[in-house]
């Protein structure tokens, strides 16, 4: 489904140029659960952001199904994210002073769904992550684990094809982290492709394949048999 060919990312130019990703080749099949691991600064987030079309590579080709992402305009990439991708971040990235339900509704607004359906879908998504009793809470009134579950509901409410998660458990203790991973595994089992960055082995263990990144190159790949 996803095919990266010789993807490079270079920040700056001239003497100050630093190559963060070196000609990465990567294939991801539909329904896979891919974990990206590696030391801090190895380029994991950069790679993930390119996969999520939030960032663009300096060189190389990124094909999604039959679409060459490099040929899309920023607005077309926005539409691509709108209909196909869901994001979870380490820092949750919920809108401040905005209730759980409004946070989850937000992507649906851009899909042009009417307010009644939107509300129903948001409540349904929050139920799936076990927050039906926290619908009208602000992020400030929720624990880290609850905030991340709101973020998952927001990512999943649009039924994306791919879930992109950058250290989703990075700010959580082990118990909450595993609760979050159970939810993500559940979505993966429903057929959603998951690409996740982590530096914890027991979190990466949820994935079907782990890619090890070091200094911007893929060092090794490990397939898990579960």
């Amino acid at each position: 489904m996803i095919s990266l060919k010789k993807i490079s990312k270079i920040y700056g130019s001239g003497d100050a140029a630093s190559t963060v990703l070196h000609e990465i080749d990567l294939e991801i099949r539909e329904g896979e659960f891919v974990a990206i691991m590696g030391p801090s600064g190895s380029g994991k987030s950069t790679l993930l952001n390119i996969l999520g079309t939030l960032d663009v590579p300096s060189r190389g080709q990124y094909a999604f199904l039959d679409t060459e992402i490099g040929s899309l305009s920023p607005d077309q990439r926005a539409l691509f994210r709108r209909s196909l991708l869901g994001f979870i971040f380490q820092g949750y990235n919920l809108l401040k002073k905005t209730t759980s339900i409004e946070n989850v509704e937000m992507p649906l607004i851009y899909q042009g769904i009417d307010s009644k359906t939107r509300r129903e879908m948001a409540i349904e998504a929050l139920k799936e992550v076990g927050l039906e009793d926290r619908l009208s809470y602000d992020p400030g009134q929720l624990s880290g684990g609850q905030q991340q579950r709101v973020a998952i509901a927001r990512a999943m409410v649009t039924r994306p094809r791919i879930l992109i998660a950058d250290e989703p458990t990075g700010n959580l203790d082990t118990k909450r982290g595993h609760e979050i991973m159970e939810l993500i595994r559940n979505f993966n089992q429903q057929g959603i492709t998951v690409i996740m960055v982590t530096h914890e082995d027991d979190i990466a263990a949820y994935a079907s394949r782990t890619i090890y990144l070091r200094d911007g190159v893929i060092e090794k790949e490990v397939n898990h048999v579960s």
Binding site: D75, L85, F87, L95, K97, M106, Y110, S115
Partner: protein, 403 residues
Amino acid sequence: MFRNAFLQALREIRRNLMRSLLTAVGIVIGIASVIAMVNIGKGASKSITQSVEQLGSNTLYITPGQRRGPGTRGVIEKPFKEKDLETIRSSVYALNVISPVESAYMTVIYKEQNYRTSIRGVENEYLQAQNWNLAEGRAFEKNELRTGQNVCILGQSVISNLSLDPKSIIGNKIRLKNFSCEVIGVLEVKGANTFGADQDDVVLVPFSLFQRRIGGSDNIHLMMAAVKENVPLELAKTQIERVLRERRNIEKEDEDNFQVRSMTALLDTISQVTTVLTVMLGAVAAISLIVGGIGIMNIMLVSVTERTREIGIRMAVGAMAKDILVQFLIESIVLSGLGGIVGIAAGMLITFGVATWLDIALVIDPFITMIALIFSMVIGIVFGIIPARKAANMNPIDALRYE
């Protein structure tokens, strides 16, 4: 999309209520002053118009001399004579009445008391033209007018200032500088005119007496005419002009050397003055609106920077540049529009207060209200576009990383 952006904007404004209120203050003040100034200006000119009309919208003032323009200073005016008056009186059917009028400011003496007042030489038609009745006594008699007998009619202010009894003064003599006259009547109270002058501060004498004792010639410098009801002022005016041109032997190509004016001409002048004032005050208000607009732009720029991460999140879930643009643009339009609505309300309150205080007509112009509302929203667009574009042009990854 617009409905959601609108609701979102309201939510955002409520979230930062204090800041939003302070931001909108500039717009509120600007709009309030526009509304108040325009409405008060209109109310004032309406009041002036009304009282000028009360004062006699059917009255014509006939004076010798050219219409004043550049270079006409020092032109010798050819005054009217008794015969001009008689000809107009007998041949202009559009007129109800016509009277000569001449005034001088003089001291009136009765027993040991002095009082300076306006002595006015008139004929009985003056009272008819002014719709003025007598409280006591009688008007002038024909022969009194013809021969200029020493008789006079007193206004109420003269009565009260000389501490006279309006009934018993009839038949007594008062002195006017160089002659004395018998009081034959007392006028009803008329009050102040539009310009605040006391109309009762007057002593009326026969016109021929005034000419002989005060004016010292048989010239007439002002004739006051009342046009018949249902006859257009302009018709009477042209008739008078035709008669006077003939009597004064004015050639076809020459201009009139006299003027026939009505109060409506005065009204035009007044409305010109108030229009100029309204425009000037409006310009001042417009400047304050621009200042208010800059305030909105400033706060919107701050808001865009503060909400960089939010913009990143929205872009991550699929907002296009135009979605972000519309969101921030609508927010600034709603902000300035709300400022406009509050300003309109405040402006109406000010108008009401001033109208009550100055006792002028209360006018609320729906047109300027609409304009003010639209204009305040236009300010939101004009001054919101730069912050909104700044937001829309952000790069999702940089916006998401923003701390």
